[in-house]
Subunit: 315 residues, 3 copies
Amino acid sequence: MRNPQLNGDGSLQHLLTIEGLPREVLVHILDTAASFIGVTEREVKKVPLLRGKLVFNLFFEASTRTRTTFEIAAKRLSADVINLNITVSSSTKGETLLDTVDNLSAMHADMFVVRHSSSGAAHLIANHVASHVHVINAGDGRHAHPTQGLLDIYTIRHYKKDFSALSVAIVGDVLHSRVARSLIHALTTLGAPDVRVIGPRTLLPTGVEQLGVSVHHDMREGLADCDVVVMLRLQNERMKGPLLPSAQEFFKSYGLTPQKLALAKPDAIVMHPGPMNRGVEIDSSVADGPHSVILPQVTFGIAVRMAVMSILAGN
Amino acid sequence: MRNPQLNGDGSLQHLLTIEGLPREVLVHILDTAASFIGVTEREVKKVPLLRGKLVFNLFFEASTRTRTTFEIAAKRLSADVINLNITVSSSTKGETLLDTVDNLSAMHADMFVVRHSSSGAAHLIANHVASHVHVINAGDGRHAHPTQGLLDIYTIRHYKKDFSALSVAIVGDVLHSRVARSLIHALTTLGAPDVRVIGPRTLLPTGVEQLGVSVHHDMREGLADCDVVVMLRLQNERMKGPLLPSAQEFFKSYGLTPQKLALAKPDAIVMHPGPMNRGVEIDSSVADGPHSVILPQVTFGIAVRMAVMSILAGN
Amino acid sequence: MRNPQLNGDGSLQHLLTIEGLPREVLVHILDTAASFIGVTEREVKKVPLLRGKLVFNLFFEASTRTRTTFEIAAKRLSADVINLNITVSSSTKGETLLDTVDNLSAMHADMFVVRHSSSGAAHLIANHVASHVHVINAGDGRHAHPTQGLLDIYTIRHYKKDFSALSVAIVGDVLHSRVARSLIHALTTLGAPDVRVIGPRTLLPTGVEQLGVSVHHDMREGLADCDVVVMLRLQNERMKGPLLPSAQEFFKSYGLTPQKLALAKPDAIVMHPGPMNRGVEIDSSVADGPHSVILPQVTFGIAVRMAVMSILAGN
């Protein structure tokens, strides 16, 4: 089956998921992002690559943070950006998702950045739009959040250079995390030999081993000698029913403290997709400590989103 | 009585309603819009006609769709756009409508795009502002929605070229539709000889014949040999009380199906202002079929709004 | 103790409060604002001083009016503006204020315009951000609203030229007014010899005399021969409990009518920060009368905010 996010010549048509994306496409995005890091540090932080292009931030699920990063990335590329928060708006008035997309396309949309609570929404839109329109998945249900996965591997590459001997531990609520799924696919594609997921049974998806990771329920065991620790947010808002005894107990078992971090390699980096629950999944002294690269992740995220938009627009 | 939307020399000062607008003003807007169609198809979709101008989208009634089309039109003309959703905002804090307008004018507003649930709100503002400030009515109560009327006649002219032998059928909830009122005035002004409204008695305004239209309660009779079918949205949110038995029954009598459409001319076009209620006022096979020009309407709507803004700004 | 809003060389690093700001800094802001008045009257109202800079309107308390003035000021300076309404947004998901600020800083924020219901919030942020990031307080609790104070003294200077023989009366709800506090500090710094506050005991802060003002409970006595009357908004939304008998009784004692205004100097000016409660603190004939400079205040407010942003950005 052809990958719907690639064109016949292998170039990127949409960014929907990291799953199935060839290594060279991933590396091309990372390299392009690196070229934009300079732009964001210049006095005038704009390049005209998307001048006159119309980007819709089509958010069916509220997320100020992610929407803002895409808005900034698009504005740095000189695009015009329209923010549509469809959950708040009564505008659709019973209109179907694809009718909404058709209407916005008829307003000459060049790109849709889509967040939706249903897995597959971005795919549905990508299969529907005309060939000059590009879709970026900004998070669909529990499925994928590819630009987060990309900024994660950008960060890892930045600090660790090489993936070929890397041990990465992903800790916490893997079950509800589209971030974790996207990152695992990216690491596998780039050849990281040792990816571990760590969490209580109730927060790990059944059969997660099939993604090529090892599973640990004991955090001390799972963190041993790893190079990268990725802490996940405890997604309280997604949990239905009592999967967990309490935030305090979770912190005791799976919260990242200096003591637990000491089991990783001395130069290990600590990542977190944000927003953090300090004292739940991560101790403040670690979040603000010398191993933390949590804020650089945010900065790299702008460059990665600029790279994806720029590549999709054909630059 | 002088038309408040025209200057002494006959040029457009505000766009408040199509009623009473001279034929040459309508044609000038349509011709200007045609010149912008090219702009929206260029690689860089911007022209500097409103550069440095400040346009306020002043929405006292939520409408993401209409607000977005004006925002896109203004940005294509290089204006700065400020969106103000006064229903959501608590900012007015009891301030009167005209005090709000005075304050925004003191911030050097050049243009107000106004939507309000009260008929006459845009007129009130137009009568109040200084002479260098221009007002566009983006829908006031049941009264008028002139840019929608303009994009409708733009669409008809695009496909049918000439109005002098045209039969146009407007179907459905005419009573609550400012779209219908604006379109009827435009068609009359441009000399369309045969305009029909079709709907149940409860959804047609009393005395609608006085606008120069014929009235039909039987859809098959009303559609016979017409060139243009304009379906209206069933405005559930505006209906008070049980005007209709059910959406299913409405569809049976007044929903546009392929069978009913076959009674119109073979090259008839089907229009709808959106958002559509598929299966209520229109069948999906018609909405997506070869007669439908519903999405081109949206595209032309951007060009028409650019034209109105550009003409008001004196270009 | 060093003033946190000034750099070692005395230049402005943040604008947090007028209290403690040296006279020459105030005058520099007013002079810079005067130079921008011309810009706002030009055909193209933009200057490229903040081109490529990223300004966050970080509003933890809703205020469309204030947010809009900053948005306009920033856009006139060609900055990119991101509006974040954190009260509405669920995005922070329990994140701390400083984590939110850190994240936005990591997105290369150059300036934060902050409104918050807690006094001191802008100071907290200013103490936290890196040295190339600038903070403007757009209102914190009952504490300060420095750009409003600046536009007030800009307005007074514009109409009265000189502060050295000036009598200024501030009338109404001084207790809940950050506007009053900021203005009193500005007037004292610029050497106005006679500043009076007028209001019922319940609406004047205890010990207000220590700010260098005289206190009046009788409005006729307080207005006698003054040059400037500043009416404050009755902040109903801030009052807890029955501080006042009724709006009608307040108007009778402290509402500005033509009769009461006649006690001031013949060329007295009337100011109000807006939004006005007509018939509560001010009579319509005064609000719209020849002494009123309420709308010019709004216009000057844009220029003053442009000046502050431009000075902070190092221009």
